[in-house]
Symmetry: C2
Subunit: 384 residues, 2 copies
């Protein structure tokens, strides 16, 4: 249908073997054969989350899992500290409010990471914070938040630690148990490189204690039902899942095991470094500071005199490389290069070559080949 | 993975061309190319619902759409008349209660259809009923409810008419506009013969008027967001949809257009008649009365002296035909034959032949070939 190279922060390119898995015949979702696939898939999901706790897969987007994380722990008026530094941080706040929680937003300037000390101050100031939400990798701004340091601070408080790793899991370091994360959510279509439509979630014992005492205001996202069905023999989901997407997740997670999680994260780190080097070589400007730049998506200021429509339009129509624009107030001001999932130097070279041609065509001064060379240099062994 | 013939009431067998559609490359869900697929798919969805109103596709199970139907119209304490004659009727009641609505259950004995006059009496008695829910085809009991007659009665009242056609749409007569249905929901994996994981919903103007005044207690299932994104150019979904399942729905709905909706319903009616004739020829007993028997799933009393485990186990393991058991208090007492989606005489012949062998093997007196002959007789032209 479309041979465009997707360099957006999700959905990402899906490997042929994963796409192929979806063409297998549909089986009964309440059968031993499906139970086997489900339990293997959730087991690897837990391994990738780096947790000893059970994981659950929800047919729905990452947003469904974000909502599941909050709707199962919130009663009316419960206070939630929402760290808001971009569109997805805002989403946690909106979900808090949709479920009659009281949001205590910690506003962080878009393009910056949260300062963990500020979270500590707020936890000292308010002794009734039930949960703290943070987006590990803020896809909208290309910023990575310090979830390990936040976890250390949160250890001293009762508040549940809720982390969105939708666009980081499998592409950056996430250690659910080690960081003390109570509820962690992710999506299929980002660094896990499965097709969109499935979301993962895992909960600590502390989180389950709260869930057990809470009357979930959602039926479809009621995690007690997911646990009950997951514990059945054979394991099931409470409602009919997307059987085909489960095949795809099973295969995509097997790919991650084969590559090795550490290797995969390192591959993402290298791609991010190469991307930043390429951007600098073209005299373009990163949107966030380099030290808080994401490992999976790079946000870049739109060059002077070039419009978003011309730039991304030419990239897409002429060179068939799709980049993402800015969202909300960043629309037109930044563009974003997703380098998550199955990304190697090849896709980056293609992207930067197309960017060089596009920029030159649009009258922006660019030395042809400089971006591509910077990518290659980053991938070459250091001792050459 | 599995070559078992699925004769269960969903998921149903998916045609190779529909499975194949899912192996297409993933595209950006916020692109013109996806917008085109989305708008074509929702247009055919509306055609199949037989409505001039817009349809929406939700990544999730039929239950997600059932919840969407109620969570967007209910405020705390709102009264809902839930017609409960099986597991899915109960589900509407549970969803009503999960969202702090007040359920007024109209209990119908499992295996029977609702009497529309009783609904009329209740609507006269209670002038504050905000919505009436009914499951068109109660999958758990094999009963079809009279949604056309119910619609006539509901025309005289303000209550919204909410109908679950998850296991009937595309297999039995559903005329959303003509019957005066305000909110109609369906699932991908039943008569539409697409893979599980996507649900359809459509709303009348009256329903939207209520939705507009209601603060949805769900974020993921907030229909105002679906409408806003659906009206965008290009049309979108509010959250990342399952792109692959959208390809599959697009293809499965195209198959329905090619067959013709009337032909498809007639094919289902013939399959249901053949199944009932086969059951009677084997001296087995239908669970519901014949006049309220479903067009898409036939529920049969478990024969005397035969256990569910032996019967369905032998069918599955030895003959590789999968039937469904009973649910809740019907567990062990009935079995169910799904004949929805891509079902012709071939699958029924295979199923009945396997049933004859299984029953004989388990000591139940059965004349070999009688069931199969009854199927064939039903399919033969009448004038032969």
């Amino acid at each position: 249908m479309d041979e465009t190279l997707l360099m957006i922060p999700g959905p990402t390119r899906v490997a042929p073997r994963v796409l192929k898995a979806m063409s297998e015949n549909i089986v009964n979702h309440r059968s031993a054969i499906f139970g086997q696939i489900l339990s293997e898939t959730t087991q690897i999901m837990s391994d990738v989350f780096r947790t000893n706790n059970q994981s659950y897969l929800i047919t729905g987007s990452g947003t469904a899992a974000m909502e599941a994380a909050l709707v199962n722990i919130l009663e009316k008026g419960d206070k939630v500290l929402n760290i808001v530094g971009g569109k997805f941080g805002q989403r946690f706040m909106q979900i808090t409010e949709a479920h009659r929680g009281t949001s205590l937003p910690l506003e962080v300037e878009w393009g910056h990471a949260v300062n963990p000390d500020e979270v500590g101050f707020l936890l000292e100031e308010h002794d009734d914070i039930k949960a703290v939400t943070v987006v590990h990798n803020e896809t909208s701004t290309g910023v990575v938040n310090p979830i390990q340091q936040l976890g250390k601070i949160l250890r001293g408080y009762d508040a549940l630690y809720v982390v969105d790793t939708v666009s980081s899991l499998g592409g950056d370091h996430v250690e659910v148990d080690d960081y003390g994360i109570d509820i962690c959510v992710t999506g299929s279509q980002k660094c896990l490189a499965a097709p969109p439509g499935m979301a993962g979630i895992t909960l600590s014992k502390d989180a389950w204690d709260v869930v057990n005492k809470t009357d979930s205001a959602s039926y479809y996202l009621n995690l007690k039902k997911y646990r009950k069905s997951g514990d059945a023999e054979p394991p099931e989901t409470p409602y009919t899942p997307s059987v085909s997407l489960m095949y795809a997740m099973h295969e995509a997670l097997k790919v991650i095991v084969e590559e090795g999680l550490k290797n995969r994260v390192n591959r993402h780190k290298l791609a991010a470094e190469a991307t930043r080097n390429g951007i600098k070589a073209l005299n373009l400007e990163l949107f966030p500071k380099e030290e808080v730049s994401s490992t999976t998506v790079t946000a870049v200021r739109m060059p002077e005199g070039v419009t978003d429509g011309e730039f991304r339009g030419t990239m897409r129509k002429k060179y068939r490389v799709e980049l993402a624009g800015g969202q909300d107030h960043l629309k037109g001001n930044i563009f974003r290069i997703g380098h998550m999932g199955n990304i190697t130097h090849r896709e980056l070279i293609t992207t930067f070559s197309a960017m060089e041609m596009t920029l030159r065509e649009l009258g922006f001064e660019v030395e042809m080949g400089e971006g591509v060379a910077a990518i290659a240099d980053t991938y070459l062994p250091e001792d050459l």
